[in-house]
Symmetry: C2
């Protein structure tokens, strides 16, 4: 039996090139949407409703009992929303039993693009849930597209490194004819042992460190600290 295929897209702008309709699409937004999604679900959130604009975030928040609206644009909490996009905000004490309505600059945008293009299944990936993602993709035996959310369509290193980590652990189970995947895996292997220092070289580090978020960013490149699998089902991300 032939193996399923795996492709990596480094920017949402490249999504149209790939056939998502027969694929599991893994939404990757390491700094910080998908790290926060894994963390909130791990800490007991009932579900996370990802929305692509602020007005809808407030509207759904108002209509949903026991919910929290959250979101950021350009790394800052949006006016009118209660919380931001830091995984540190979503401790078990705070989020257990609640619904999180979330809008972010890049990750929720790519998620909605993948749904609109008819993705067979949408899950979210980040270092905090690396193993859960790998285990699921190996078990599912379907084609995979690793979708880096990037920063306003510009390629970023942290999402590339996570794609590379996934590829490194699951490549034996897939047919991979994709230079982006080769680049991602090589970048991961080059930096897996110096991740916390290497990410200090990225453009996003400089953007977010200005807001005092160094601890947040280090958490976001730590493997398996919130090891659940968020899957999109009925308009929300829930634990599979």
């Amino acid at each position: 039996m032939s193996k399923p295929t795996l492709f990596t897209l480094f920017s949402p702008r490249l999504l149209d090139i790939y056939d998502v309709s027969n694929s599991i699409v893994v939404i990757i937004d390491v700094f910080r949407a998908t790290s926060t999604i894994a963390t909130a679900l791990y800490n007991g959130a009932i579900k996370i409703i990802p929305v692509d604009n602020v007005a809808k975030c407030i509207e759904i928040g108002n209509a949903t009992p026991n919910s929290i609206t959250a979101g950021e644009r350009d790394g800052k909490i949006i006016e009118g929303l209660a919380h931001g996009n830091s995984p540190a905000e979503y401790s078990r004490n705070f989020i257990e039993g609640k619904t999180l309505v979330l809008t972010t600059t890049n990750g929720t945008k790519l998620l909605h693009m993948a749904l609109k293009n008819g993705a067979d299944e949408v899950i979210t990936g980040s270092f905090p849930n690396l193993s859960a993602v790998c285990d699921h993709l190996i078990a599912a035996k379907k084609n995979v597209i690793l979708g880096c959310s990037a920063w306003k369509d510009r390629i970023n290193i942290e999402d590339t490194l996570f794609a590379g980590a996934v590829i490194h652990y699951i490549k034996a189970y897939f047919t991979i004819h994709c230079d982006s995947s080769l680049i991602a895996e090589q970048m991961y292997l080059l930096h897996k042992d110096d991740m916390k220092s290497f990410i200090r070289l990225t453009t996003h580090w400089h953007r977010l460190a200005a807001y005092g978020l160094e601890k947040d960013l280090e958490y976001c490149v730590t493997a398996d600290v919130a090891n659940v699998l968020p899957i999109f089902n009925n308009d929300a991300l829930v634990i599979l």
Copy 2:
């Protein structure tokens, strides 16, 4: 005085993100358009007219004395054109004193996109003219966009490696806040000493090697064997 900026784009799809109007855009299509362009000019071609479709290639060829029409789609010579896209075809004996009218799958497409978006200056780069490109960019003291032509918008490694080589040699002269540039340089440093074996892992190698083009591809990653600077001026690429 602040240094000029440098950005790398890994796919033509990302061109709109960057402001090309104040930049020198370096068109990179290592396999094989820009390697062929450098080689033909180095071997005495008067000029190269890059066109984006076959009909126009034939029309301009018919209207231009002492010209040769050439082009490929998907690695093969196009029906109706006289020659292909292999640098090996353009020896001094053959091309000296002639005008080459050229259309290719990716490189000439990105070149026309850059012109349409109002690029301040367009040059072409490839390993055969690596030093000429670096020397020019250092001397020009303008903003730079390294434009990888990719393969039908999919990111490829060979163009990435060339961008990385340029960055490695000129980075001291530029302000670089661009993760793509960081990735490109790291990939180049990782493989600069095993280029001829590494490119055998790329998707493009497998595509073109099927046509018996291994020697061509090895030539295309050899530095400074056709070390001239092609610059776009009055509808054609000429030596600066």
